[in-house]
């Protein structure tokens, strides 16, 4: 593959000069500039990012670590991160930790080896010691981390409040919360806390169940939902902590001949596209994923440029009302 040196030779210049036109450094005559561009095109030259990064001591790559790729929420996060990265001329190196701490650490090390500009961590493990002195910013999305440079979350508590109040205002009197899969404290826990606070405030009967970690990979929440509905048969409103769970709750209701929304109202969380594709469409708490991922990428960019970033950013959520309530 052609190198700067080849371009320089072909253009009758030195590498220094060519590098200057490439990086818009110093003074270069229009004539020289054009000459260089011509030759680059002719030789089908592409700068070697490795060499560039090595020399500049920083790369245009962002490490993204997620616990799951197939789950719609994370797929949406990844997709939006890719878009945001692209807009800022970054690339993403994708890692799937599968929620395992060892893999997460291993991937952080891989990022370090690749001298990424920063890491965006959406994963759920916990070993905070390993995250010190990494040499690059560590941005988290929906995840607590003292050592992180910046934490980005949605307003989970407000989301929980909106969901619960909505169900109550729709006439539900026996509420059920179905939680996520996390074992460690997560920002998302506030959803449940808010739900319980609201129920207590209104004096509404409520229960909560939590799928264990075992369901994480498979996204199969049916057993929990079925057993929860068997245990609390009078339930007339469900607040599910994700749209995937909500979608499955709809199916379970169908099995049991419980009409949604007539006999059972269901609110999800996230607003991923299955929420609008089920029937009935799912009323859900929308996370502004686009804004959150843009904030994450721009935090990396700013931090890489030596700038300051907010230690914690909380994005507002909004209730999207569809047919399930």
């Amino acid at each position: 593959m052609a190198t700067l040196k080849d371009v320089a030779r072909e253009a009758g210049l030195t590498v220094g000069t060519v590098s200057r036109v490439l990086n818009n450094r110093g003074y270069i005559s229009e004539q020289t500039r054009e000459k260089v561009y011509d030759v680059m095109k002719k030789l089908n030259y592409q700068p070697n990012e490795m060499a560039r990064s090595l020399s500049k001591q920083t790369s245009k790559t962002i490490g993204v670590i997620v616990p799951h790729i197939v789950h719609p929420f994370f797929a949406k996060v990844i997709s939006n991160l890719e878009q945001a990265a692209y807009n800022s001329q970054y690339r993403i190196l994708l890692f799937n930790s599968k929620g395992k701490e060892e893999k997460e650490e291993e991937y952080i090390e891989a990022c370090r080896s690749n001298r990424v500009a920063g890491v965006i961590l959406c994963s759920g493990s916990f070993n905070t010691e390993k995250f010190k002195n990494l040499g690059f910013p560590l941005i988290t999305i929906e995840r607590f981390l003292d050592e992180g440079t910046a934490g980005i979350e949605c307003d989970n508590y407000s989301g929980g409040v909106q969901a619960a109040e909505h169900l109550i205002s729709r006439g539900c009197r026996h509420l059920l919360h179905i939680g996520g899969v996390n074992e460690q404290p997560m920002p998302a826990d506030s959803r449940k806390a808010a739900f319980e606070d609201v129920c207590r405030r209104y004096g509404t009967e409520h229960h909560a169940v939590d799928p264990g970690r075992m369901f994480y990979d498979e996204m199969n929440y049916y057993p929990v939902i079925r057993s929860a509905l068997d245990q609390y048969p009078q339930t007339d409103g469900i607040f599910a902590s994700s749209d995937v769970i909500a979608a499955q709750a709809i199916q379970v209701c169908r099995e049991k001949n419980i009409g949604v929304p007539e006999q059972m109202k269901i609110v999800g969380f996230d607003d991923v596209n299955i929420a609008s594709l089920t029937s009935p469409g799912i009323t859900t708490v929308r996370q502004p994923v686009k804004e959150m991922t843009e904030a994450a990428v721009s935090a990396v960019a700013r931090s890489a440029a030596g700038g300051m970033v907010a230690a914690r950013s909380v994005f507002p959520v909004s209730l999207v009302i569809r047919e399930s309530t």
Copy 2:
């Protein structure tokens, strides 16, 4: 961040020696080896992959270009590629072309700049000129490309045959095929061809509809499905070219009070996890994504090592019978 030089100094050796223990090259005494490892741990040393790649003239990174991240099939492909890459010590640089040719080309150039070991292309555009003389292997998944080093597909034709014969053997007499989103010729087209061949052979009445590209991003096939069922009301069997479409077809049937599988039998394609999570579960043609992605990664690895790889590999599919038929 600590460098090889730091490690060497601290261990009282030269960089050459330290590099040797790192790469298991030449003879090194157990004592020296241990000393080096101790110092590396002490200094929290991580080799600089940039420098390494630059020197070795090859990287441990694979570029992955997909047209969609949120679509369950591609999410599954990405997830499996990441796993396969991890197993072979590769990392993946993820790009979302959104099916746009310009972006695809841009991303191929980005891969070239990053001196990837190879590119795995699942995207759908067409400009074959640009893909010549890249300097690295170009592996495609479910995609035709003359210039590619290797093409990996599933046996789409056989899948179509199995789906159609299954529907007919279950007693369907008025079949409908709902196609995918591609505008250009794709391996997946054989699904439809097979379906039509089988129907003709059995003398079964059949029709086919194709969603345009417009549905690509949104994965919203409802309008096509609804209008197809309005147009062909006697339909009693659907072969959908993806599980996402099949899942939506089930919903449409529910809307229209058509019992699945009693009045309408539905077969999907891919076997992504929504297929087993809908109710009824979707009978579908299973693509061996794990094997296909492993083949793709190992093709990159082998090709990077100067080896030969099959120009075209076709993987067998199998019918997974669930409740929708």
